[in-house]
Symmetry: D2
Subunit: 344 residues, 4 copies
């Protein structure tokens, strides 16, 4: 931490700041500049969390310079983490794909979807059984019944299942049926839920919060990992900006940022990330080229009849076309040595 | 809902859209414009949630025009709601104030804080017992012990107690000790938690999510009210913007927006809203002048030693000065007939 | 400036950074932390602008800690600046008001508007003669003819005139007719235009850019002042955020920020700041309570017929009602000693 | 345009709105919904600009549904525009690259840069002679001398020259020396400047404003095209968001949006778009895969000594590596039929 004093701050104010630093078991080094004095704070990162000097006389501001996360950082674990889910690896350089409808609507719908997902080449089937919806009057999901259909679809097709946990109470139930527990954007800072999935023996797909900084997102992953679960996949899914044309602004630079700051694998969801099915293909291609470890896409056997998120769902034809494209693109990148795995 | 067709969309595409509308139990009226055809959708609001036509051929976009919330809307309940909490009224035109430290740190600290809060004239004591923190290594709160201290402070001073619920499991416990259940910004779309507090017999203070639109916020209140709890106080606490000087951007226009769109009372938190204690006074004054029903402010007996959010905590002296100012300002506004209660 | 090295950066990398610092005529002090080394850079602020070390090996990031503006800063000029415009003072604690239509549409319209503005008690008449419009097909202003009408309206009523300059070529022409040169939000970083008005002998009203940080805004004012013109009035007019209910998000905390960081007066435009006439009154009240030195409001004799920005224009009745309210509020604040002039 | 009346609006209010519509030479169709009446407005797009009904009694809001630009829209010109600059084509499916330093600093620097740019395979050399800088104390460019150096570098290497025009007065001068006139982000809504370059016989590179919506950006292009200049290249360069890790948030979905809405070519600037040289490669790859027609990158012979924007400048080695990668990627996409040219 670096503390910047106001121009002309009194010597007594500086001494007061030093006392506060030392009171917290840290030490401070004073550096006098042309215009302002700055004080560097040295010592235990966790003690710095509790150092609040901005309300002291003469302090302009305090700037935190070290990261607040540790286990998920690249410094702590320099090699990329590879996650093995029943033989399918994420983070090893091969592209994985997760596809399926936003919500499980019926047995027929999810079985049909699973067959299409399988035929297109994705390894994972997604589908929401518990749906967090902005309005209480929107469709809220089939709950456990939806999980059963998912599991059945997984058994029939061999696809691994990804589904969202929305609250602590349903974590165990969801974990019974699925292969990967998804934390949705709205729950990225539901810390109790993060801790709960941190104690499960299932990989976690952690979506970025709708207005989360990369730092907050990695701290959310730190919550999970600090409980013991090291199998975390990050998922960029668009952030909220002023632009209204797209539903969210897909931040593909997050792929590069995560690969620089962390060892965890990262995938991209161009469906939620744009909110428009027309944009899924170009953004899926872009994500692969940027070095994403995988893709998550919404596909519905009949998008116009989807009970949620229709405008961003692909038709089966679009889905197969995109899968064909990204597979060939990923293969080319690997063979040509152009694949981006690491940003040093 | 209004559906806008692309320029030159075929008649068959228009018919297909009409079929989708009717399939959902709604009816559509076609209106041909100079450049584009638009289709107005008429019928049950809840059915419209499930109408997804954007992936149909020829559709440019669909614009939702009616609100998705009902019980919290002014149309449904034209008179302002007044909430009575043990004789203290919120929303009746008098200003209420909630003050106290971010977190309960010790019995001594909260007792000392309560005495100061009381002496300054606020009616409510706040203090976090369960703290949602970005980093797992930050101080997380005293939990039930903190609640006990709060309750004791309440008994001694007669102050009503406000404290945050962070998860479904602790709702009952918090409700035992406090007078008002607070939903924090990070949980504004924790729908399960909203439903849970919706079933409690305690008023709820619902903070605006850090990047929530006013529409999403009112929908979150709708979740609570649709479970039967009508005693909801909204709290504007700053939104995330690109500006880095302040921690958040306090959106005081939300006070006017809420008073136009809803019947619920709204208070303002200038401490979290700015992240800087120097700005609390001017923003508290502004909130009162804009018509806020109350204020929520962070005050710590010794801000430099606060275990969380120190930079935005007031000293006891600043707190008393602000309380004196807002009381006189509120009295003037009422007596002079300038107080803004309603935005028609 | 503070340079933060990556954890584990080599000693040779640190030496390389020091060499780059010294090469630029600055000096560096190394401070070794628990995890990371940081290097404080000391010396001439202007030389630091040219120091680019982030692409050097081992550098994580460089954080600028001193302000890049000087003349407009409070440190440079501790007392608030008071600007005298033909006897009307801005920044002396009295509230000033600027009102009028968005655009000058006809002689009749501006004369009628001027009479209403005068009768409501504002000291300044505003009206655009040169209009920057998003679409080339929107009404672009009456140009010089509009200026003539404004000047005539000023003569008749004694109101001072404020009008926008949109390009270097029309600065002299506008300056002939008006009392205050307005720089609009879109031109806040039109540096050539800033320099041009910096050489004029007329006060400048500098609107905040639609996504400008407070730092960038003060730097824009620095451009003007560094050319010699010290009579600058800042105007907060709403920033772009994700919220769609209001046209912009009025950032009233900017009033407090500017009063802390600078000596310049600041006024608030609640009309553009919200885009909704219903919100002008509550936000005008809030601005006054927050310590704004003045208000700028759109008023049109017949808003439904306005050629631009109708939705945010007040009717004459609303305007007079608001002026009555803010005058009484401002008088109360001054008499009671509650007026906020300074944020130390 | 669609006008939404408040629930329960009186019949007389509806009639009043109809009168206002007809007064403007347009016609209105009333559609009664379950909760609200909506009125569709039909007629000339330009007349709608002047229709302001939101301040009328009973009107909730007015929603504009047709685009305000025409010449740049895909409806107007369904085929992609290909721009020929001395034999180099932009928009024909081949990737072009523009590279060079942020600012021209000296003859030696720009000659050295040009040789490297050429050797890496880019077709265009960029370099700023007139620099818009946030602080008046930052380096502002070599002005005409810089243009001369650029032209000389162009002659020696055969590279086409791109340089920024910052004000109307220097358009002719810049046009004398360069092949493409660049409009920077800060000037995207400098409408007078847009019109001026619209009258030049040189192609224009129009950067997206830092907080411009896609709609505003296309309207800015419309300003240029409505003056007769049809050779416009759009350039996505990152938008302002709340994220602080990157300097801007590169919005690659803008590539897809522009290809859907317009016929103009679009290139991407990953250097400004991220502000970090480490991210240029992954984002350049992503842009190409998303279908961008070209790239613009900052490269400096010695980034640590750059007088501006050092942190985002590539070294010559990084530049050549990226050029090698994007060329191979673009070739693969074309040969395999995976290149995205059009989003229908």
């Amino acid at each position: 931490m670096v503390i910047i004093m106001r121009a002309g701050a009194a010597e007594s104010s500086i001494q007061e700041v030093i006392r506060a630093i030392e009171y917290n078991g840290l030490s401070g080094k004073v550096m006098e500049g042309e215009f302002q004095t700055i004080i560097g704070v040295i010592g235990d990162r966790e003690k710095m969390c509790c150092l609040n000097v901005e309300s002291l006389e003469g302090v302009e501001k305090a700037v935190s310079i070290s990261k607040s996360y540790k286990l998920v950082s690249r410094e702590y674990h320099p090699q990329p983490t590879v996650i093995d889910i029943g033989g399918i690896k994420i983070g090893d350089g091969n592209l994985v794909a997760i596809a399926g409808p936003c919500a499980v609507e019926s047995k027929e719908q999810i079985m049909q979807a699973a067959d299409i997902v399988k035929s297109g080449g994705a390894q994972f089937l997604r589908g929401g059984a518990y749906k967090p919806r902005t309005s209480p009057y929107s469709f809220q999901g089939l709950e456990e019944l939806g999980l059963k259909y998912l599991a059945e679809a997984g058994e029939r097709t061999g696809l691994k299942i990804v589904s969202e946990v929305t609250e602590v109470e349903n974590v165990n139930k969801v974990a019974e049926y699925v292969d990967v527990l998804q934390i949705g954007a709205r729950n990225m800072q539901n810390f109790r839920l993060l801790k709960e999935v941190g104690r499960q023996n299932k990989p976690v797909l952690l979506k970025r919060g709708i207005s989360a900084t990369i730092d907050e997102w990695l701290n959310a992953a730190e919550y999970i990992m600090s409980e013991g679960n090291e199998r975390i996949i990050l998922c960029e899914r668009g952030i909220r900006s002023y632009e209204e044309y797209t539903r969210n602004t897909l931040d593909l630079s997050a792929v590069a940022a995560v690969k620089h700051l962390s060892h965890l694998p990262i995938i991209v969801d161009p469906s939620h990330g744009t909110g428009k099915w027309r944009m899924v293909k170009p953004m899926a291609f872009a994500a692969v080229a940027a070095g994403a470890d995988g893709l998550m896409m919404e596909m519905h056997p009949d998008p116009a009849k989807a009970l949620s998120d229709g405008p961003q769902s692909l038709t089966p034809e679009h889905y197969r076309d995109i899968m064909d494209g990204v597979s060939r693109l990923a293969a080319f990148l690997q063979e040509s040595g152009l694949a981006i795995r690491d940003i040093g």
